[in-house]
Amino acid sequence: MSLNWQKILVPIIALVLLLLFWEWLVWYKGWRSFQMAAPSQLWPAYKRFEPLFWQYGWQTLWRTVLGLAIAVVVGTFLGMIMGLSRIMNDALYPILVGFNAIPKATVVPVLALMFIGQHDFNTVMMAVLISFFPIAVSVAIGLSTLEPEYRDILRSLGASRFTVFWKIALPKTLPEFFGALKVSATLAFIGTNLVEIITPHGRGLGHLFQSAQTNSDFPLMFAVLIALAALGIALYYVVVALEMVFAGWAVRRAS
């Protein structure tokens, strides 16, 4: 029982102490709202723009989730090709590594120029480009490291390659896949926000952040950051929930 209290209370107390210190520091230094925000200013900043938070938050969220969904399809497909064919792996892997090494902020203006005015498309595209890589790599590794005995068990019964993939290779790859999906979910958020901030087009939380920055409105900037963090945490736990449903066997084994 005492252990449970410790687990709940200690983090809360730590957080409260941190906020108190932050509040005190702003008060002590006499920073004003165009220099720095205090925690007590965040809630009022949110209330002032509440409808915008929900409207923009929704725009950021759906574009991130759509981008992530497409990244799952593209990444899984690439991973399958690379994991099942040695030649395709040799051909694609260097290209993917090279592409992944490009700082994604530089891709934003390229996309913006190529598809002028297609803001939703650009944003979703960016989320896809930044988040498919971990998924492709994890699926490829999961498939290519399948022990030959697993395959032989079914192949010796005359099972097709597809049956082996469906019954063994795919489920066996799920734990790695979900590990990558957690990383990708966070990355997809970075992708949407990059576009929303670098090429402002009046949509998404990134836009709200941008206009707050223009006005040196620190309370609003911090409120947006916290809203973004809340969205990221929510999406992360959706992935965790899916993992429990589809790969719970691996999670239980680890604990």
Partner: protein, 261 residues
């Protein structure tokens, strides 16, 4: 009764960058229906290649593999396999793992029938009550028992055992040897066992085949005409001790340490 497995003059080489790498040369093995053949030989002599040839997962450069009067040209539904690594699927329960071959071989069989068959086998090897457990919740010996059930569930003509007891501790291994004899009594099958353990080969085999070093050929065949189930004590009688000493000598020749005995 005819021979269920007939391996005639099989020669095989793997193609490598530095040229062909011969593993089998003019190999001959005959296994009558219902009998248990143990194959021993120096490590790396091509024993696992032999299992893949019988399972139809690969084909010899020369020679023929016959199974049940048919030339093996492709994988068949009439083979069951078990390996040193039990390779159970972690996301399935033990029962679902044992049912796996039936899903491939007899997709039309009603689920209840599949389940009954799997449960009956699990009970035979002493895994009653563990049907709903995950593989990770079982000990190594229990996992290997489940793996044996999976190899037998679709009533294959032949089961191919590639060192299934190799990674177990000595006591568990002896338990499983006895389980094999009990299984054969209740559920007759033809088996080819690859092993490194001479005692295992004498205790389980109706015939013991010694392969020479690579490229492997049939060097020596010993019959062990003792009906099963055999008691473990059998391993310590004079006859068995003599057999073991002959086999040990043959292995030494196969390893090339003893030019002539």
């Amino acid at each position: 009764m005819g021979n269920l497995i007939e391996i005639k003059g099989v020669t095989h080489a793997y193609k490598t960058r530095t040229g062909p790498f011969p593993v089998l040369r003019d190999l001959n093995i005959s296994i009558p229906e219902g009998s248990f053949c143990a194959v021993v030989g120096p490590s790396g002599c091509g024993k696992s290649t032999l299992t893949r040839l019988i399972a139809g997962l690969m084909f010899p450069d020369q020679g023929e593999v016959w199974l049940h009067g048919e030339l093996v040209r492709s994988p068949r539904k009439t083979v069951g396999m078990a390996f040193q690594n039990p390779v159970l699927l972690e996301w399935r329960t033990i029962l679902q793992n044992v049912m796996l071959p039936l899903e491939i071989v007899a997709p039309m069989m009603p689920r209840r029938q599949k389940e009954e068959r799997a449960r009956a086998l699990l009970a035979m090897v002493g895994l009653e009550g563990f049907e709903g457990k995950r593989p990770s919740e079982l000990s190594g010996g229990m996992r290997q028992r489940a793996s044996l059930c999976r190899a037998l569930v679709h009533k294959p003509d032949v089961i191919i055992l590639d060192e299934p007891f190799g990674a177990l501790d000595a006591f568990t291994r002896e338990d499983l040897w006895q389980t094999m004899h009990q299984l054969r009594q209740k559920e007759p099958f033809t088996a080819l066992l690859i092993t490194h353990d001479l005692r295992e080969s004498v205790y389980l085999g109706d015939q013991v085949v010694v392969l020479s070093g690579r490229p492997a050929t049939t060097q020596y065949v010993m019959e062990v005409p003792i009906p099963g189930p055999r008691p473990l004590e059998m391993l310590y009688d004079t006859e068995s001790v003599e057999r073991l000493s002959v086999l040990r000598q043959q292995i030494r020749i196969a390893q090339g340490r003893d030019a002539h005995a």
